[in-house]
Structure formats: C-alpha cells, structure tokens
Symmetry: C2
Subunit: 335 residues, 2 copies
Amino acid sequence: MTSIDDLAREVGVSTATVSRALRGLPRVSEQTRQRVVDAAVRLGYVPSASASGLATGRTRTVAVVVPFVTRWFFATVVHGAEQVLRERGYDLLLYNLAGDPAARQRLFGTGLLTKRADAILVLGLAPTAEEVRQLRSGGRPVGLVGASVDGWPSVQIDDHAAARSAVEHLLALGHRRIAYVGGLDDSPVDVVVPTARRDGYLEALLDAGVEPDPAYEVEGRFTMAGGLAAGRRLLDLPEGPTAVFAASDEMAIGVLRAAREAGRSVPGDLSVIGVDDHETALFFDLSTVRQRVDEQGRTAARQVLALLGETDELVPERVVLPTELVLRATTGPPA
Amino acid sequence: MTSIDDLAREVGVSTATVSRALRGLPRVSEQTRQRVVDAAVRLGYVPSASASGLATGRTRTVAVVVPFVTRWFFATVVHGAEQVLRERGYDLLLYNLAGDPAARQRLFGTGLLTKRADAILVLGLAPTAEEVRQLRSGGRPVGLVGASVDGWPSVQIDDHAAARSAVEHLLALGHRRIAYVGGLDDSPVDVVVPTARRDGYLEALLDAGVEPDPAYEVEGRFTMAGGLAAGRRLLDLPEGPTAVFAASDEMAIGVLRAAREAGRSVPGDLSVIGVDDHETALFFDLSTVRQRVDEQGRTAARQVLALLGETDELVPERVVLPTELVLRATTGPPA
DNA sequence: TTGAAAGCGCTAACAG
DNA sequence: CTGTTAGCGCTTTCAA
C-alpha cells in the first residue's frame, strides 16, 4: 500500500505538494502536478479514505437508509442515487432496515450515521419527531424520499393526487363499490405514503358522493403476498367490490392473482389498478399510476450534494414529481 | 461531536482506558468500564470510524459489488449479506455497476475497493484474470457469489445441474423442440452463469438424443423485456419450439407474455420454465428451478468474516447450494 | 510555487 | 489495572 510519503519521496517533493497536486488545488506548477500524477498512476497510489476523512472531517460517503432493499421501488431509488453520487466521487453506505424496528432505532438513536457519512438519505420513512431531533443534532444534511420534514430537502410524489386520479378513473368507468388495498399496519416503515394514498382514495369517493365502506379497506402490507390475501378477503365479501385500487403495483398483482383463483375475470368482474408502474406491471397489463422512481433517487442525491457544496445547481428544497395515469387492460366498466 | 478525549476527561481516565473499556478488551476493571460506558451513553459518544480506521488499518466495512441493484436476485443477495454483516458490526459499501463497463474497470482497476473496505464481495461477476490479479494485490479477502476463483471463497448453485433438471423435466413431458432463452451477450456481467446454464441445456438435449437447433438459442438479456423479445422471435419461427427453458424467471415471464400476445396457450401450446423462483414466479404459476438467494448473500458474508477472523465458524471455502425443481402450471406435455 | 509542521481521533505497545 | 507516547496517512496553515 503506497502512501503519500512514498509518492512524495518518489517524485522528490513534499507530501503537501502531492496532496495539492492530486486534488487539483492551485499553487502547484503544472509541471510538478504532471509528475505527481504520473507517479501516482505508476505506483497505483490511492489515498486512504480514513486518513483524509480524519484530516478533513468529511468522508465523501453518503449513508442511504432503506426499509427494504429487496423491494423494487427502493432498489430503484438507490440505483438512481448511486449514479449521481458516484459521478461526484461519493460512496454509498447502505443501511437496510429490512423491516426491523430495532435496527431502525439503533441506527437513528446512536450518532452512527452522522459519524460515518457526510450526508444521509432516508427513503420511504417518515422520521419521528425524536429521530428528526437526533438526525438534526448530527449536523449533517439529511434528504428524504417519500416524506418531508421542515427544513430538509425532500422528493416525493403527490400521493394524495395519485390515489385520486386512480380512483377517479374507476369512478368514471362507473364503479361505485371500490376497495382500497394498502398498508395501514404499524410496520416500521411507510407510515406516510399509505396514509396519503388512502386519504386520496376516500376523498375521491366522497367527492363523487360515494359512501366509503370500511369493509373495503384492507391491509396489503405492500407485498404481492399481502395483496393476494387482501384480494381473497375482498372477494369473499358477501357484496364484494367491483374495483380495487391498490396502493402499489405489487399488491395489485396479488389482487389479480386472487381474482384468477376465484375465477373472476379482469376487468369484467373486477377492475384493478395500482401505483408505481412497476417493471412487472406491463407484463400483467396492469393499469397503474406511474411514477419516475430512479429520478427520485437522483434528485435526492443532488439535493444533499448541493447542501454539501458539491454542485452549483439550484436544486429546489422540496420536489414533488408528477405522476401519470397509465391505462392498460385491468380496468374497465363494471359488469 | 464528542471525542475520546472529552470522554476520558469526563470520566477522569486516560484515552487508552476509554478505548479498552469501550471495545470490551481485558485489562480494565469492571468498575471503570461501567463508568466509561455510562459516560459514553450520556455524552452520546460514537468513535470516529476514520480515526480508528487509520489507527488499525481496518475499516469494519465490506464493499459489495453488484452488476444491477435493481434486479431482484442481486438486491436479495445484498439483503442477505447485509444482515450478517450488520450482526458483526460491519457496514456495507454498495458499488452498483449498473451495467456500465467503464464503472467496472474504474472500480477494479484502481485500488479503490481495497483501500476502503476490509473485504470485498463480488456478486454475479466472473472477474477477469486481470481483475483477479488486481484484487489479489489488494491483500483483502474477496468473496464471490455466482462464480468462483481458485483460492477465494465462493457461493453458487450448480448452474449446469439446475439447467439440466429443468430441461430434463421438459424432455420427460415429451418435448423435443426445446428452446433456450439466456444471456449470451457481451454485457459486463453474468458471463459464467448463462454459459453454464446453456451448457446444461445442451447436454440434457444431447443425452436425450435430441439435436440442438441453434435457432432455438435466443438472447434474453436476463430481463423481462429481453424475454419478451426472445419469446416473440421464437414464436415467429416457422417451426417454433413447444417448450422454452429460460435461464431466469424474469425472462420466462417475458416469454409468457409473448405467448399470450401471440394467442398461444400455456402450457398447451407452449411450456415455459425458468430459474430462480423469483418472488413473482408464484403469481404467474411459473414452473422453475428454485434457489435460495438470500442464503447466498448470508453465506458469502460469513465466508469473508471468517477470513477477517470475526467468527470461529468453519465456513467451507467453496459452497454450492442445492436447487429444487418447482413444478407449477406453465409446463405440461406438448399438444 | 513549495515545504515544515501541527494536528485530526483513535489504537497499541510499553511502562509502571 | 492504568497511563504515556508514538504513530496511522492525510490536510492545512504558515513561512519561505
């Protein structure tokens, strides 16, 4: 492992000069810079992140906290964020809660994140007041995806409007018995998104003069399996819905499966619409509300980089990305 | 940010004692340890990773290199690895190649990884001889998932056998015109897995006395979209296959879609089988060859941790995890 | 334009 | 059982 000293000795300059040369700072002659760079390549020199981190107090690392890496949505946001971070030479430290509340507490409760990263990106989590306090005390920029907190940058879609547009589509088709499959549970995650989508659903119904039926609100845990279970429950109802709005495509796909199991035709007997435009939605011909997922990651990364002074771009503090109704084959008029 | 000095002063001991106490080293009285720990909690002390990294030469971080985070398979392996790393107090640095060959070269070519992490996990990539040399020169443990290199720990399935079992199933059903959808392209990734699966496919055919037809080998890029395109091509053939073995479930799902588009019934007109037992496979009733994906991540993590001296477990150097034929509704006898 | 030197916060001998 | 001390490999004044 060649160190800056080796390199300095090799070139015959001081370590200070090497440091300046390699980081493109002024006050180094073009000629020396060239010699330093050449030698660095020749010796395969790579600066120690620990050493420069210790000296500068910055690690050139961003911590990304995600509820579940295995979910397409979060993986895609991570992908987007990674790309722009990498461009600026930042590394990405991944913290996967995997649905474990203890992990969440450990992570936010201790100053861990703050010590290890220059900035923190929190995905799909609405930090509690206490967590906000703890994160704030760390003094590092924090960016949010899918939630927002005063004074912090955030990226999200208008969940309320997205839900409304889906439900309004179903209403326009003539449906009145419309169910909602979402995540209302007390899982460690996703507390704000499902709530907003449910509110949008309820509001659209009320505006259309349709009385919401509590039996039509079912837990789907944001997974296909959860959607399947939810779909079964709904189809077992004495007077079941003619249409289902699922707060995510994965749940919608589960509902589709339940319909098939029950021998109901889609959209003849049951219309189904989701949210996301998940990779698989196309393959199920699923109607959905599309959102640009990797763009959310990219934007969030840009926001914190801006706060770190890494870019001159003006990145708005609170970004709300548009959604788009995508009609495919799973929605149609009721029988 | 309270430092070890602050803490030492607070408790009235030396920094050395604080360091020992907090790391659970011997040669500290239980009483002092308690006082140190209490004070640490009270002051919210968290050691600086940069400082201890610099002092020890170890960062308590593992770098994980993945071709595509957004693919379910890799996200799931990362999830598995993350869990066991976290247990031992290791952080995970994520490097997503996202299919960019330049990124791959930058990553392996410079000593970056080696400097930043105590160990490296490479997923779904068969390192070139040059890359092996470079990684080896870093002197850090390297673990592989989905490939293997002499002297390095690895976890994989027997791709050859997995493919054979799928194809033998199709043969047993009476199919003779069996196509292969895989990844044969020169993408930066997956060079070994698709090849092994294709070989298994060919061998199974030959053993059964079936002459392989080159027109039946189609590129699917390991994506649903690629599988769709592949399926279309196969179904357009004058004398198309009666069965398709896709090297991944995602491609198999694409083929299913192509069949539906073309009005072919599955498995009546076309049988389809994949590999993975992807989350979505159940929902498509897809026959497949199941592999335990997160277990691959867990095992790989354990292997490098063992090499780092973090565990007493005996972890075999080369692990081959079993696969299992899962028969659902997309395979049946030819018409 | 360059160099000397003092840290950054922690660990690891070595003494005591 | 505890403290002193010398680094780890960089960055950053301050001088030259």
